[in-house]
Structures are given as C-alpha cells and as structure tokens.
Amino acid sequence: MQEPSFLILTALAAGPQHGYGIMTDVAQISDGRVKLRAGTLYAALDRLSLDRLLEVDREEIVDTRLRRYYRLTPAGRSKLVAETARLRANAAAAAKRLGLAGG
C-alpha cells in the first residue's frame, strides 16, 4: 500500500472526515512530512473507493460549500489492520538488526 493511501485510511480510522479534514489530519499524522494536495487526495479517494475500502458517510453544506464525509468500510479497517501489522513487523525486524532498544 502506498503511503498516502495508508495515511488516508489512518486519518479515517478514528471517525468520518471530509476532504479538507483528511488533508490536515494526514499532515498532522506524518508530522508535516506528507502534505496531500487536492489532486492527489481525490485520485486516492477514487481508487480506495473503487477498492471498497472507504465509502461516503454523509454530506453537509457549510458556507455554501459542499462537504462530503468519508468513512472506512469493514474491508478498509481490515486492510489497515493488516498493513499496520506488516509495517510493525518490518520495523521490529529492522530495529532488531540495528540493535535499537525495543527491537
């Protein structure tokens, strides 16, 4: 799974969010290292939706602007759990070989 997709799913893990919320949350989760732009975000949302990993939760109109909220599907949650386990195992293996504490 590509990093933007992983971060988007992570941003939605705590609850539904709208597009701009996902962008700011992804920046926060990654300590400002990953800054999603609108084109990348919506291409990723389109792909994740086609893969049935997320779906539309609800829509709101705020200051005449449409806000669409997205949420994880059960398949999306499972995928995120599996990906987290995979990354954790990789990180643990790397830490062990590097002799880092906790590895």
Partner: protein
C-alpha cells in the same frame, strides 16, 4: 480571503477531470481547494495546478482501464466467440448456395472463383476453398460443444490455412486469372483471427450461449443472411440481375440493414453495445473486401458502392465507439466515492 478569480481558475483546471467525476466531486473539490488557499491569492500555485492535472490523468486512465477490463467486454467476447464461427459458416453456405443456383462457382466470403478456369484449376481451387469452409465448420461445432481450447486451436489453424492459401494464390499457377488484391488477405483473416482471440481471452462459448437469448439467436440468423449479402458472390447472384442501379440501391439497403442489426444488438442486452462494436469491425472487413475487389479485378461499380457503404459503416462505428466510451467512463466515474 481568496478571490473569485482564483475559483474561476480552479474551475478551469477541474475541467480536465472526466465529466462523470466532475458532476459528483467538482463542488467538493472546489471547497477543499478554496479552504486551503492563502488569503489574497488569485492564481493557483504551479505545483497545485500540476497536481490537479496529474490527478485528472490518473482518474481518466482508471476509467479507461475499467472500460477495457470490464465484465461487459468479457461477456461480449464470449458471445462473439460462439456467434462469429456460426455467422461466418452460415453466411458462407448461403452465399455458396446462391452462387450455385445462379450457375457460378463461388462460396460467399471466401469466393475467389473467376470465370474461365480450365478443368484442372477449377477442382483444385474449389477443394482449397471448401477446406477453408470446413475449418470454419469445425470451429463452429467445437464452439457449440463448449470446447473453448479446441475451438481456439481450430480457429488458429483456420487462420493459418486461409492466410497461407491467400498468400500462395498470389505466386502459384493457381493465381492465373484470379482477381486478388493484397487488401483481401488481412480482411479474409479478420474472422478466424478475431475468433481465436475471443475464444482465448473470454470465458468461452459456453458462457456466450448462456448469455444469448432467443432474440440474439434470431439476430444471429438475420446477421448471417446480411453478411452473405455483403459478400461478392451472393451480391452478384442476387443483385446483378437487376442492373447496376438496382445493385447500388441493394448495397445501400444492405448497409442499412446492418446498421439496424447493430442498433438492435446494441440495445438488446447489457453487453450488446460492445458486441455491436465487435460485429461492426467484422462487417467493415467484409465490406472492404466487397468494395475493393470486384469481378474483373479492377476498380468498378462495386468500389463506388463499397465506398458509400464504408463511409456509413465508419460513421456508425464512430457513433458506437463514442456512446460506448461515454457510458463506460460515466459508469466508472459514477462508481467513485460519490453518491451517484
């Protein structure tokens, strides 16, 4: 606060997205873009513009892939894999029968039999031609039995045989007096090659027969007659009796019948429009042979009739391709994160 000019420029950039995607996400994306813009900015940043254009390209590419990977295409090819061998076989037999009734030797789509051959040449050429028909009959029988791989092997052998004989006929004594154009070779092979591909990449003729309803079988029978009418021998047998003008009118009517047939197929089932496109390519190949090769081996009345027919078929195919593409991209875009 971001300016109205900025919104106009964002809207302009969003026009690069597929219409279906835009109809669902444009307002939402504008909201996100405007929320992220610094106060006072009236032009998108270069990196932002590039990101939007790249995002549009990704989504368009995905829509295109959805079009080519779709179950609809596999189903259409499954129907094509069983319908085409039958269509070619039946139309060839009808063409042959019509030619025999008229007192000429010839066998429809594969007819290259000119008048005035001697007693040695005639049986040799007839045997060569009937072997070609036999190979198509074998493909049709194997397809009807649902034996996909055997049918594909037979279709490949049929393509090889027809290709070899067409090339050899240019250089052997058998070619004496035979009006053949190099244009004939690729188009004589359209049917067996496309059958091979359809049999190999589709779920197979068994699935095709499951999908075909009574109306599809009736259309297949009608299509066989029309295809026979498109071929040279049957055309001569049927149309030359009434003179050139009647033949020209008959050719145009034939093309119109093909158009109606394609339209009916297109509307009759979910995979119909794709199937119409596949049959359109096949019909176009046969029409091209009919248009460029006439009985004397020179450009003649058939060429003119054929040219008119070709323009009509090209227009029809363009319309089908346009509608297929638009509906498929719309369906692919509509299945995105939106509610559409």
């Amino acid at each position: 606060m971001a300016s109205a000019g900025l919104e106009t420029r964002y809207r302009r950039l969003l026009r690069w997205y597929p219409a279906a995607h835009r109809s669902v996400h444009q307002d939402e994306m504008l909201g996100v873009l405007m929320a992220g813009a610094e106060p006072g900015r009236n032009r998108p940043r270069l990196a932002e513009s590039a990101d939007l254009l790249l995002g549009a390209a990704r989504i368009r590419l995905r829509s295109g892939r959805a079009l080519s990977d779709g179950q609809g295409w596999r189903d259409a090819l499954a129907v094509y894999s069983v319908a085409t061998p039958l269509l070619v076989l039946i139309s060839t037999l009808i063409g042959s029968l019509a030619a025999e009734l008229e007192g000429r030797h010839g066998i429809g789509a594969f007819s290259l039999m000119p008048p005035g051959l001697d007693l040695v040449q005639q049986p040799l050429i007839l045997a060569t031609i009937w072997l070609g028909v036999g190979s198509q009959a074998l493909v049709a029988v194997l397809a009807l039995l649902g034996l996909r791989r055997w049918a594909a092997a037979a279709a490949a052998i049929s393509a090889l045989y027809l290709g070899t004989t067409a090339v050899l006929s240019l250089y052997t004594p058998l070619s004496v007096g035979i009006p053949i154009s190099v244009l004939y070779i690729p188009f004589a092979l359209v049917a067996p090659i496309s059958e091979t591909v359809a049999l190999l990449v589709s779920p197979g003729p068994r699935r095709g027969m499951q999908l075909m309803r009574r109306r599809d079988w009736a259309l297949l029978a009608a299509g066989s007659v029309v295809t026979a009418a498109l071929t040279r021998s049957f055309g001569y047998a049927l149309f030359s009796l009434g003179g050139e003008s009647l033949r020209a009118i008959a050719s145009l009517l034939t093309v119109l019948v093909v158009a109606l047939l394609l339209l009916a197929l297109w509307l009759s089932s979910p995979h119909g429009k794709r199937l119409a496109l596949l049959f359109g390519v096949l019909a176009y190949g046969l029409l091209l042979v009919n248009g460029f090769i006439d009985g004397s081996g020179a450009w003649g009345a058939d060429t003119v009739d054929g040219a008119v027919g070709q323009v009509l078929v090209i227009l029809l195919l363009a319309a089908v391709i346009y509608r297929t593409w638009r509906r498929s991209t719309s369906a692919a875009g509509g299945s995105g994160p939106g509610l559409a």
